[in-house]
C-alpha cells in the first residue's frame, strides 16, 4: 500500500455519526411501536409483513455476498474499493436470522401445506418435501452455507487488512466460484420453500431464477447506494471517480433489465398457456387492487430505472446514481411484498397503515447492521493486492 493514504479516514474503522445513529434508533423505535399496534389489530397481516421484511433484508445480504463472489470469480479490478462495502452489507445475512423468527413461529398460519385439506392429492404428493421437519432442516442448511460463506469471504478479507498476506486473495478466488454455485442452488430452493410454497398448489420452474436475479439487483443497488453516500461524505479515497461508479451503474442497469426479462418470461408463459392452475397465482395479483400494484412494479422496477440509467453519463453521475439505487431498493421491496402478501391474505386493500412499520424496520435493521459490521475494519480492503491498480482504474 502506498504510504499516502495510510492515515486517511477510510483506513480507520467506520464510526457512525451521532445524527445517523439517532435516526436509526428512532426508526427502530417507530417500527416496534407500529408493529405492536399492527399485530394487535391483525395478527396474520403482521406475520406476512414480517416475512416480507425477512426476505427483503436477506436478499440484500445475499446479493451483496454474490457481488463479492463475482469479483473474485471474474478477477475484477474496478470493484476492489467497493468490496468492503459489499462485505459489510453481507452481514445482513446473519442479521436476517433474527428476522426469520416470525416465519418459523408462525409457519402453521402462513403455509397451507402445514394442514392440507383431507383428500388433497396434490399436497399429499408434495408432502415428502413440504413437511415441517424437512423444512427446518433445509432452513438450517441454507443459513449454515450462507453464514460460512460470509465468514470465509468477509471476515477473511478483514483479517487480510491486518495480516497483509496475499494468500487470502488466492484462497478466496478459488472458493468463490464454488460458493457461487452453492448460492444459486440454495437461493433457488429458499425461494421455493419460503415464498413459492405460500401457494402450494402453484409452481413455476423459473421462480428460483426470479429470486436470484432479485437478490443480485438488490445487492448491487444497496452497494451502490451506500458507496455513493460514502463517497459524497468523503469516506472513500479521492482516486475513486465516476469511472469506478460507472461499473456499478452498468451492473445495476443490466441486472434491473435482467429482472424484467425473467419476470416477463414467467408471466408470458403462464399468460399464453392460460391454464387455470397456473394463472391462479397471477389472478391473485390482479384482483382487489393488486392490479395497480402490479403495474406500479412494471413502472418502478423496470421503466423508470431503465430510462434513468440508459445514458452513459448517467452511470457516472453520483447524484443520479444515489436516487436511482434508492429507487431500485424501494422497487425491490415492493417486489418482495408483491410476491408474498397476496399469497397469504386474499381480501382487503394491498396497503394500509399496518404496513407503515416496514420501511422504518428496514432502515433500522440496515443501519444497525452497517454500524456493527463497518466498525470492525477499514472501509476499503487495505491490503488487497489489486487495490493499487484498481484505484487507477480508467474506463
Amino acid at each position: 500500500m502506498t504510504s499516502g493514504i495510510v492515515s486517511r479516514v477510510y483506513t480507520k474503522p467506520y464510526s457512525m455519526p451521532r445524527k445517523l445513529e439517532f435516526a436509526g434508533r428512532g426508526a427502530g423505535a417507530a417500527a416496534i411501536l407500529l408493529l405492536a399496534v399492527s399485530s394487535w389489530t391483525d395478527w396474520t397481516r403482521a406475520l406476512s409483513d414480517s416475512l416480507v421484511l425477512f426476505i427483503f433484508i436477506l436478499t440484500l445480504g445475499l446479493g451483496s455476498l454474490f457481488l463479492v463472489t463475482l469479483e473474485y470469480t471474474v478477477n475484477a479490478t474496478w470493484s476492489v474499493p467497493f468490496r468492503r462495502v459489499s462485505e459489510n452489507l453481507a452481514a445482513l445475512i446473519p442479521a436476517s436470522l433474527i428476522l426469520a423468527l416470525p416465519m418459523l413461529l408462525g409457519v402453521g398460519r402462513l403455509y397451507e401445506w402445514m394442514h392440507p385439506a383431507p383428500g388433497d392429492a396434490i399436497l399429499a404428493g408434495k408432502s415428502a418435501y413440504l413437511n415441517l421437519p424437512f423444512f427446518l432442516v433445509r432452513f438450517a442448511l441454507f443459513f449454515t452455507a450462507w453464514v460460512v460463506g460470509y465468514r470465509m469471504l468477509a471476515e477473511g478479507s478483514r483479517r487480510q487488512d491486518k495480516s497483509g498476506l496475499h494468500g487470502f486473495s488466492v484462497t478466496a478466488s478459488r472458493f468463490s466460484p464454488v460458493f457461487m454455485i452453492l448460492l444459486v442452488v440454495t437461493i433457488t430452493f429458499a425461494a421455493f420453500d419460503w415464498i413459492m410454497s405460500l401457494v402450494p398448489h402453484w409452481y413455476s420452474s423459473i421462480f428460483g431464477v426470479y429470486l436470484l436475479v432479485s437478490c443480485m439487483v438488490a445487492g448491487v443497488a444497496v452497494t451502490t447506494f451506500v458507496a455513493v453516500l460514502l463517497k459524497m461524505k468523503g469516506y472513500l479515497p479521492a482516486e475513486i471517480r465516476g469511472d469506478h461508479f460507472y461499473n456499478l451503474g452498468a451492473l445495476l442497469f443490466a441486472l434491473n433489465t435482467a429482472w424484467a426479462y425473467i419476470a416477463f418470461a414467467q408471466f408470458l408463459l403462464i399468460w399464453y398457456a392460460n391454464l387455470p392452475h397456473e394463472t391462479a397465482w397471477y389472478a391473485m395479483r390482479a384482483a382487489n387492487g393488486w392490479g395497480k400494484v402490479s403495474w406500479l412494479l412494471i413502472l418502478g422496477h423496470f421503466l423508470v430505472p431503465f430510462i434513468a440509467l440508459l445514458n452513459r453519463s448517467a452511470k457516472t453521475n453520483l447524484k443520479r446514481l444515489r436516487w436511482v439505487s434508492l429507487w431500485v431498493l424501494a422497487a425491490h421491496g415492493l417486489d418482495m411484498y408483491w410476491l408474498i402478501a397476496p399469497s397469504v391474505r386474499t381480501g382487503g386493500s394491498p396497503f394500509t397503515w399496518q404496513e407503515l412499520w416496514l420501511p422504518f424496520a428496514a432502515a433500522a435493521v440496515g443501519l444497525a447492521t452497517w454500524r456493527w459490521a463497518a466498525a470492525r475494519a477499514a472501509l476499503i480492503p487495505l491490503n488487497d493486492p489489486k487495490l493499487e491498480s484498481s484505484l487507477h482504474f480508467h474506463l
Partner: protein, 381 residues
C-alpha cells in the same frame, strides 16, 4: 522529394511520435493548449481515457442505436398487429388477436437486430468514413512502431492552426521522438474515393451471385437439407389409402347401416317376404303422385302406362307381362316388393335404383291401377 512527387501527393496531416502513453497524454494537452482542435491519437492498444483528454464528447452513436431500436419497435408492433389482428385473424387458445405480451419477444428480437446492424453500419459509414481505399497513416515511416510500442499524436490538415511549413516545429517537444508530415496521393489523379465505385459494386454483386448460386447448388445436389419445406412433403395420410389408425379411411363398425337402407332379409325367399313384409307407407295424395312419377320412370317402359303390358319399348325388347293378372292382383304387397327388390325372370332388380320407400309407394300406385281396371261393385257410386 522531386517536384513530380510534390504534385502527386497532398499533405493531410502530421504526426508526433512518443515512446510512452504518459508522454502522449502530455503532448495531447500541450497541443490543445496551443489551440489545435483536429486531434487524434494512434496507439498499439486502446488507451483508456484518451478520448476525454482529446476533448471529444460522448459518441453520438447511441442516439442512432436508440432511433433504430425505436423504429424496430414500431415496425414489429405494427407488423404483428396487422398480420395477427387485421389481415389473417387467428384465434390462438382464446387469447386476444392483438396479444400484446405475445408480441414482446418478436419486438425485442427485431429491436436488437435493427439497433445492432444500424450501429455497426453507422459506425463504419458515418463515423469512420468507410469504405475507402487506405489511410495516410499507412504510408508513414513510423507505422510499424505505432502498432508495436510507440504512440502518436495526429493533427489533421483541416485544423485552422495547421500550416505545412511550421507544423513540424509546432509539434516538437522534449519527449517527441520524431515528427512527420502525412501525405496521400491526390484522389483526382489516380482514383476516385467513392462508396459506389465500379469495382466495389462489381465485387458486391459478384459475391451475391456467387454465394447464392453456390448455396442453391449445395442445397440442390450436395446435401439432404431441402431448400424449402413444401407443404406437400409433410407426413400425412393420402386419400383412399388404408390406415390402421383412426385418422385415415377406416371400415365402418360391424352392423352399421346407412340411413334409409335397411338390409333386405328375404333374399331368394319371395314367398317368405310375401308372408311377412307389410307396406307401412301411408296412402295419401302426395304418395300416390310420387308413385305415379316413379312408376312412369321405372315401370311404364315395359309394363305400360296402365300396367297392361303395352309398354313403349317394343322390337327386340322382351314383352313384359300385364300386372292385372289374377296372380299379381292376389299377391300381397310384400310379395310384389320381393319382385321389385330382387327382380324376376328377365326383370332386373331395382334395389339399387329405387329407394325402399319409393318401392312401397310404387306398389300403392300399382294397387290403384289394378283397382281402376278391376273395380268391385261397391266402388260404383
Amino acid at each position: 522529394m522531386a517536384d513530380g512527387e510534390q504534385e502527386r501527393f497532398e499533405v493531410v496531416g502530421a504526426i508526433a511520435v512518443y515512446g510512452a502513453p504518459e508522454e502522449l497524454a502530455e503532448g495531447v494537452l500541450a497541443a490543445r493548449a496551443a489551440g489545435f482542435t483536429h486531434l487524434d491519437t494512434v496507439s498499439p492498444y486502446p488507451l483508456h481515457g484518451i478520448d476525454r483528454l482529446l476533448g471529444k464528447g460522448p459518441s453520438r452513436l447511441g442516439y442512432i442505436a436508440a432511433a433504430a431500436g425505436l423504429t424496430a419497435t414500431i415496425v414489429a408492433k405494427t407488423a404483428q398487429w396487422w398480420v395477427s389482428a387485421v389481415d389473417y385473424p387467428l384465434n390462438i387458445g382464446g387469447n386476444p388477436l392483438f396479444a400484446l405480451p405475445a408480441f414482446v419477444p418478436v419486438t425485442f428480437e427485431l429491436m436488437v437486430l435493427f439497433a445492432s446492424l444500424t450501429t455497426v453500419i453507422a459506425m463504419l459509414a458515418v463515423f469512420n468514413g468507410l469504405p475507402r481505399y487506405g489511410n495516410a497513416l499507412l504510408r508513414s515511416s513510423y507505422i510499424r512502431d505505432l502498432t508495436c510500442n510507440h504512440y502518436a499524436l495526429v493533427v489533421g490538415a483541416a485544423d485552422k492552426r495547421f500550416s505545412a511549413g511550421t507544423i513540424l516545429e509546432d509539434l516538437s517537444g522534449p519527449n517527441v521522438e520524431a515528427v512527420e508530415l502525412l501525405r496521400r496521393e491526390k484522389p483526382s489523379l489516380y482514383y476516385k474515393e467513392r462508396i459506389l465505385s465500379v469495382p466495389f459494386l462489381v465485387l458486391v454483386v459478384g459475391v451475391a451471385i456467387f454465394s447464392s448460386t453456390a448455396t442453391r447448388f449445395v442445397f440442390r445436389y450436395g446435401g439432404e437439407l431441402p431448400l424449402y419445406s413444401f407443404m406437400k412433403h409433410q407426413t400425412r395420410l393420402a386419400a383412399q389409402t388404408p390406415s390402421s389408425s383412426s385418422t385415415g379411411v377406416t371400415r365402418p363398425i360391424e352392423g352399421t347401416v346407412a340411413r334409409g337402407f335397411l338390409p333386405y332379409a328375404y333374399k331368394g325367399r319371395p314367398d317368405d317376404a310375401g308372408a311377412n313384409l307389410v307396406n307401412t307407407v301411408p296412402v295419401t295424395a302426395a304418395t300416390l303422385a310420387r308413385g305415379r312419377d316413379r312408376f312412369t320412370v321405372f315401370c311404364q317402359p315395359c309394363h305400360g302406362r296402365l300396367a297392361d303390358a303395352r309398354g313403349t319399348l317394343t322390337a327386340a325388347f322382351p314383352k313384359a307381362p300385364t300386372l292385372h293378372s289374377r296372380k299379381v292382383r292376389e299377391w300381397t304387397d310384400g310379395r310384389v316388393y320381393a319382385v321389385l327388390t330382387e327382380g324376376q325372370n328377365l326383370m332386373p332388380k331395382w334395389e339399387a335404383q329405387i329407394s325402399r320407400d319409393d318401392r312401397w309407394i310404387i306398389i300403392h300406385y300399382l294397387r290403384a291401377l289394378q283397382r281402376s281396371q278391376h273395380a268391385p261393385e261397391q266402388d260404383l257410386p
